[in-house]
Subunit: 597 residues, 2 copies
């Protein structure tokens, strides 16, 4: 049976020591967030993930969800009780506006809890995770009346939320969307159409399910500029907030998926279901994008989370499995063989994962803190800078953390040999669950295009310039620190590659957009490598500062320094390959006619 | 529903045009292998794969194998009939010694058929595939009596074969093997012990199953030098060759695996089963390695095969799926959107797979032809050179083709978006099936160690020196060919990286074997990249020669040249990253205590 231990110490190191959360005390929600309070919250969240959610992970995968003849859906055994515990702990409203029943704590803290939940049981964590995104979209765009009616129950977790975008013929290209909304005399709409791949679309874990649905109002313009967002509850909600009649929305079937079996992925049929407009007519995409961006960060966290739990189990196995002897002579003479962790290739594998996990966690939290600033700062310029970073980093996080997170789950599985291929050991599940994160909320190719085609050039490249400036300033400020040279020199080189790549796009991507498209994925990964290199430089600096006065936790900081060294030696040099690839442009690949493939 | 079209034209191009099989006419089995005969054989094999085996692939995955209470195992519906058709077509004995009922055709031809079979239905193809390996081991090491008794029926496919190495505590490290063999008065042995992960261990598709089992004869030395190989039939075989009493070997359970559900992976219990020694006592590993090496090449082919069928289906989808518009303006104005193959990132993905598949196929056939020479040439020096190459290339092929084959299946799945994650589309199966190929027959980390620790330095590095010499001679001989420069310059650069890496190991790996271990996986991939770069240079040369006189098949050669260009531009530059990584040595990764992971 696989196991899970939430990385509390590592998260505290990042929030307290590296990113100095105490400097954000002027923001609402941060005032009372002392190191002690933070630790207590994370310890509680860890307990829930380890003791309540994780024990249901493997069984949930094996049992899956069941759709009954009447269209109702039952999640795996134990999921409802665990979900209830999650809600009762107040975790659903952690970072949400206290006006609607939330606790108003920092978004960065909620993201830590998201990681713990997703790692311990991704399929289960998705139920409250989607609600969180739906709440964000309603909070930003819905009328007060809608907010008043839906938000408190959603924040409490008594009702859950979904997002309905995809249709059979329409995934990335939402302009093709066909679902219809017919205006009614009372101001409501009748929604008709079919949506597919709807996570948590139907289940019996909450008293109501609040669907956010994209559809076209009769007579709306074609394309994405004719799409509106609607709130469509499974059960209509009475004036007094109680649940009323069943709405005309139902689950037609559930998908047979490669993974996340514990989450009900539904085909949802809307047969004249009653819905209400959220935000302005024909501006539904903007509203949905609030949910989407929130969800993209959540999916990035899923990539990290599966990478981390896969890593943890691989480490346990590598210390336990006796097989062969060290190349440099027997290490455990009292045993029939050495544990496989003596082998350099096993350590290489583990360190590739570990050095990613810790940098990815830093990158996520660094960005989440920008999210707090963007939403809460009173300084307009600070808010704008933070928002620029959020926009720039979201596709990088989503694309890179899920691509690498999946690769890492595969690497961890590999250390188990044949046992990794057998479902009972749980490693296959991590791989199968992690796989979806590369696909949903915008497949990673779309993230790369979003980055290169939209985020890079936005406002004259203001965001990327700010990032270059920040990294270079950090390097310059620490130039005199000889002990940091190991980290800073490779970082400087890699950020140079990113600058060259950016300039290459400016020179070649404008005249021929295919050149940008052809290099988009390499650019996204190049960016991710550099950003995580910067995270390692910051973590190494902090670890060095902490080391002399570390009582009993020297090994934590020493390991941090060695893991960072591995990253800059073995992982970061990939930037030069990414640059070389994208600089070849699109000519060869576009020269072939479609029939030649 | 996924589909499959066997790459007949590509295989003929390689065997006839690039590797000039007509020059091997002096070898037995090649005499009558005219281009027409070869084409007829491949067309027949293609038909079987496409029309008989492939239609059972998805259903076989969904149904899986069933073990009944009495220990019997039923493969998925249709598998037996398809297997019978395979045997009746004579495919089981294609390249096998005519003295035992085989057709004695070139091994390279059998390998082409293996690719078609594995691509069309990997789980089904494994049943005859394992028999093929068992036949090779018996043919090389068993007594005439054993060969006479078992081989003809196995070659015919009426009986199948298995290999039994792994035990619960013992995978890579066969020295830990515990199964026992007690000598009997009549010269037989009583075999006792438990074996796990036994592919095709129990089923009802053949009249008998011939298990090749590693066990220790009572009193044998400890470690790998006390292991012997036994033939243990499911049913004892009478003097007249008919099937007799049931032997004391049974299937205890079948594994719940991530993929290859159609193949029965069994826990096999030997409870004093009667067996006979194959080859010399305590020399069982050498005999099993004949089967193992044959199987490793077969597994390499599985990696290529899954990559190819995943590619084919991704191409169909990319031409069919309408979503968004080309970055350079609408390409299909008559449609609601352009097919996604207009997007550079989709083409990049497809060409990464295609440029691998075609080079991998070449690399496999180039090596298989060495196998023919090694077994059949009358020239001792030719035989030795070919055998050197087989030894050197087998771990590279197994490790690289399965690692990349799996990656490619994942990439192909990615193009399907959410549909790729839904089992009905079949893309998930290619990924799940391909995953095992990185693990079995020696996990890829072991292949890398075999390459670096054993094959590289063998006979003073004779094999690797020969490879360097061959590639450099090719480059030198074609230096004047300006049209080939595109391919030769990057090849020269990459072979230089491989030489540097080899020298780095000589300088640093002898003094500290951990340095070799730490870089072994990077070295293996570096080697694979160079070998496939060499394949592309040879294919490009042939394509250029053929192009002027190509009647109606210009596009085949032009596509070949463009695909090779993509490989040298975008894929081959990875050699420099691999060299950079391995040159960092083992210090950082070995410095950490085990507790630090």
């Amino acid at each position: 049976m696989p196991s899970y231990k939430a990385p509390v110490q590592d998260s505290l190191f990042l929030l307290n020591d590296v990113f100095r959360m105490d400097r954000y005390g002027n923001l609402p929600g941060f005032e009372d967030m002392s190191a002690e309070t933070l630790e207590a919250i994370l310890e509680e969240g860890a307990k829930l993930a380890e003791e309540v959610m994780h024990p249901l992970n493997l069984s949930g995968d094996q049992e899956g969800c069941t759709r009954h003849a009447d269209g109702t859906v039952t999640p795996p055994k134990g999921f409802k009780a665990a979900y209830d515990a999650y809600c009762q702990g107040g975790w659903t409203g952690l970072a949400i506006d206290p006006n609607y029943g939330g606790q108003g704590l920092p978004y960065a803290v909620a993201i830590v809890i998201n990681e713990f939940s997703s790692a311990s049981n991704m399929a289960l964590a998705m139920y409250p995770g989607l609600t969180q995104g739906a709440v964000a979209a309603l909070h930003t765009h819905a009328s007060d009346e809608i907010k008043r009616r839906y938000l408190p129950k959603m924040v409490e977790g008594v009702w859950s939320g979904t997002m309905n975008l995809t249709e059979p013929h329409c995934g990335t290209d939402l302009g093709l969307l066909k679902s219809k909304a017919a205006p009614q005399a009372d101001g409501s709409y009748k929604i008709s159409g079919q949506k597919i791949f709807i996570s948590a679309g139907e289940h019996d874990m909450t008293e109501n399910i609040i669907h956010l649905v994209l559809a076209r109002i009769d007579g709306a313009p074609q394309g994405v500029k004719g799409i509106s967002l609607f709130v469509v509850p499974k059960f209509l909600v009475n004036e007094d907030g109680t649940v009323g009649a069943r709405n005309a929305v139902s689950c037609g079937s559930i998908e047979h998926k490669m993974g996340i079996h514990g989450n009900a992925t539904c085909v949802m049929n809307y047969d004249g279901a009653t819905g209400w407009l959220v935000g302005e007519a024909h501006r539904g995409l903007a509203a949905m994008f609030v949910m989407m961006n929130e969800a993209r960060l959540g999916v990035a966290v899923q990539g990290l989370a599966q990478s981390d739990i896969a890593y943890q189990n691989a480490v346990i196995y590598a210390k336990d499995r006796l097989q062969g002897r060290s190349l440099t002579g027997t290490k455990a003479p009292e045993k029939v063989a050495d544990p496989i962790i003596v082998h350099p290739d096993v350590r290489r594998t583990l360190l590739e994962i570990k050095s990613f996990n810790e940098a990815a966690r830093a990158f996520v939290l660094w960005t989440a803190l920008k999210g707090d600033v963007a939403h809460k700062s009173e300084d307009q310029s600070e808010r704008q800078k933070a928002d620029d970073y959020m926009g720039l980093m979201t596709p990088v996080l989503k694309g890179v953390l899920t691509d690498r997170g999946f690769d890492n789950a595969v690497k961890a599985q590999q250390l188990f040999g044949g046992h990794g291929y057998v479902e009972e050991w749980g490693m296959s599940q991590f791989v199968r669950d992690a796989r979806i994160a590369m696909i949903y909320e915008g497949a990673n190719g779309i993230q790369a295009l979003d980055l290169v085609g939209r985020k890079l050039g936005k406002d004259g490249g203001r965001a990327i310039m700010m990032f270059f400036q920040e990294v270079k300033t950090f390097i310059a400020e620490n130039e005199g620190n000889a002990a940091l040279k190991t980290y800073l020199d490779p970082l400087a080189k890699s950020v140079g590659h990113l600058e060259q790549a950016t300039m290459w796009f400016m020179a070649n991507g404008m005249s021929n957009p295919d050149n940008a498209g052809a290099g988009s994925s390499d650019y996204m990964h190049l960016f991710g490598l550099v950003a995580m290199g910067y995270m390692w430089a910051m973590m190494a600096k902090t670890a060095q500062e902490k080391l002399p006065s570390a009582n009993g936790s020297q090994s934590f900081y020493e390991t941090k320094l060695a893991t960072g060294r591995f990253y800059v030696e073995r992982v970061l040099p990939e930037t030069s390959l990414r640059l070389a690839r994208l600089s070849t442009g699109s000519k060869t690949m576009m020269s072939l006619p479609a029939e030649a493939f």
